[in-house]
């Protein structure tokens, strides 16, 4: 479903945020990205929704190369859940959720705020699925708690039936109990909608609990790739204290069960 091919990302100021990452994520997988601050997790995710372009190498989505010509079309298959929720303040919960379907709506409808009935029904259903109640609908998002706002963000993300869901530290600003609830929700939603998830986290224990697979980046390099049970406390310790660096002679912890996917062959 997702494929990175020897991807590099250099920012104009010379920072190398991503250095030679190759990665494949099959359809339906819940893949967690770990790594210390500044490791390049956000940059990695932003290359999938076109907010950032690789300096070298290529990124594929469903077998299609993400480039200037295809990005606007491919974006419609990708939804993002953000650390800071990135909801429009001063706008109602309903409109925030509906705005997740904006690419499907003609300009005149969007301008007048007249969303078709099918989309409005879908928004209600999603709001129900993420655990909000009808009295939240007409409130402004700024009047909701952080956890509730992230629920709105998740409902918005599923408005377009995304094939891929990117979650960039979706729980970084929430308390542990709410965090677990949000991740449970993300996990359940992506299972129900058969969505491929790439989710960056700062909590190894949550990663182990919810990830089908865990990868770790450090200083822009892929330093770990394995199943949750392979992420031992020792690996975590090394990851966050900088000892776990990419060794060119040693392959990253590989997981043989992840076969090259079918759609890759089809492309």
């Amino acid at each position: 479903m997702l494929r990175f091919d020897s991807v590099y990302k250099r920012f104009p100021d010379g920072t190398e945020a991503i250095r030679n990452i190759s990665l494949q994520v099959p359809r339906g997988q819940f893949c967690v990205v770990l790594g210390p601050s500044g490791a390049g997790k956000s940059t990695l995710l932003r290359m999938l929704n076109g907010l950032s372009k690789p300096s070298e190498g290529s990124v594929y989505l469903g077998g299609e190369l993400i480039c200037d010509q295809s990005v606007q079309r491919l974006r419609k298959k990708v939804a993002t859940v953000h650390q800071q929720f990135n909801l429009t303040p001063r706008m109602s919960v309903a409109l925030n959720v509906l705005s997740g379907a904006l690419p499907q709506v003609p300009h005149w409808r969007a301008g007048l705020g007249l969303f078709p009935a099918s989309l409005r029904e879908k928004a209600c259903q999603l709001l129900d699925e993420v655990g909000l109640t009808p009295e939240h609908v007409s409130r402004r998002v700024s009047e909701l708690s952080g956890g509730q706002q992230q629920r709105v963000g998740i409902a918005r993300a599923f408005m377009m039936d995304p094939a891929v869901l990117l979650a960039d530290e979706p729980v970084a600003s929430l308390d542990p109990r709410i965090s677990r609830g949000i991740l449970e929700l993300l996990h359940r939603q992506s299972r129900n909608h058969n969505t491929t998830v790439l989710c960056s986290l700062h909590q190894p224990d949550l990663a182990r609990e919810f990830g089908d697979r865990i990868i770790a980046v450090n200083q822009g390099r892929l330093v770990f790739d394995g199943k949750p049970e392979q992420l031992t406390d020792k690996v975590c310790e090394e990851l966050y204290h900088g000892a776990l660096n990419h060794d060119h002679n040693k392959p990253v912890v590989a997981v043989p069960e992840f076969e090259p996917e079918l759609e890759m062959a089809a492309a």
Binding site: K76, F85, L87, S99, L102, G111
Partner: protein, 337 residues
């Protein structure tokens, strides 16, 4: 990191006085400029004549040209002109049985003294004429003119909003389609701001004739310059998060602006627009002086004919309107914030 924090024992510390020779030079230059421009502006004469006027008021000296001037104007302004009298002989198709609302007919006698050339005596001829008296006629006329002024300000503001919204989108660095359009709209906005209303109204009166069209066009163009600048800055400074969220699903520029930016900046926009409306009302009262409609036209006409009682009424109405609107818009703005 730690190196920067440690204290360097060898360093010689000393704290200077806050002024040095450059400050002194600067002060001398400033004084020179004030002295030269002050004498060109006749500031000393202004001070001495004002002092004389104050002295006259408190009884220190017997005459003052300023005080007499002010007194003369004050005497001719008061009482204010409220009623309107029209000679019936000058009204076409006058119908005695169908008088306008609140008006009545009066006969007034006017005496004109003149010298009889034969007897060399001073004689008086008494002429009586019938006039139609409207007791609040002139006040009503001024109020109507004030309404026209308000309408001019309203339409000037509407025009400014319509002009400035597309200009602002193109003049916001993150939404401009390209460099050329960005620079073009930036300079258009600056140009609009640089043309004073009274100047553009002079020319617009030539194009559209006397009346409100020239007035509200002039107001609209000038204030579009302000609104365009304010709106564009707000678009640029709006929180990027919601915009990225919509961009990343492929919503497109226009929908992103509508759903990601507009709700954020709307309260500010409304506040700016109200401020511009407020400003346009003040400006609309004087823009008529160059012939562009509204109460200013009436003011200029009466002033030129030395009808100071009429001028007094106009000034009082302008004054009251501005005060009332000030209260109103302050309250509206505080509710929006």
């Amino acid at each position: 990191m730690m190196k920067n924090l440690s204290v360097n024992r060898d360093a010689k510390w000393h704290l200077d006085q806050p002024y040095n020779a450059r400050h002194l030079l600067f002060a001398i230059a400033a004084l020179l400029i004030l002295a030269v421009t002050g004498s060109r502006m006749e500031v000393p004469r202004m001070v001495s004549e004002t002092a004389q006027g104050v002295g006259y008021v408190v009884g220190l000296n017997d005459s003052s040209p300023v005080a007499t001037g002010v007194k003369r104007i004050a005497e001719s302004i008061w009482p204010l002109r409220i009623s309107e009298e029209i000679e019936i002989s000058r009204i076409e198709n006058f119908d005695r049985n169908d008088l306008p609302w609140l008006s009545h007919v009066e006969v007034i006698e006017s005496r004109t003294p003149h010298l009889n050339t034969e007897t060399l005596q001073l004689e008086e001829t008494v002429e009586s004429k019938e006039v139609l008296v409207k007791p609040v006629g002139y006040l009503a006329h001024v109020l109507l003119k004030m309404l026209e002024t308000l309408e001019m300000a309203l339409w000037g503001t509407i025009l400014a909003v319509i002009l400035s919204i597309p200009l602002a989108c193109f003049a916001a660095a993150n939404y401009a389609p390209n460099r050329f359009i960005y620079n073009l709209s930036r300079s258009t906005i600056s140009l609009f701001r640089a043309i004073p209303e009274l100047v553009s109204a002079l020319f617009l009166v030539l194009a559209f004739g006397f009346g409100p069209i020239a007035g509200f066009l002039a107001l609209g163009i000038h204030s579009a310059g302000f609104l365009g600048k304010f709106y564009a800055e707000d678009i640029e400074n709006a929180d990027r998060g919601p915009q990225e969220a919509l961009q990343s699903i492929g919503a497109g520029q226009i929908k992103t602006l509508w759903y990601g930016v507009l709700p954020q900046v709307l309260p500010q926009y409304v506040a700016y627009t109200l401020y511009i409306l407020d400003r346009n009302i003040r400006m609309a009262t004087v823009i008529g002086i160059v012939g562009a409609g509204g109460i200013g036209l009436e003011l200029k006409g009466r002033f030129d004919m030395f009808n100071f009682d009429h001028v007094g009424t106009i000034l009082v109405i302008i004054f009251l309107t501005v005060i009332i609107l000030d209260q109103f818009s302050a309250r509206l703005r505080s509710r929006l914030m």
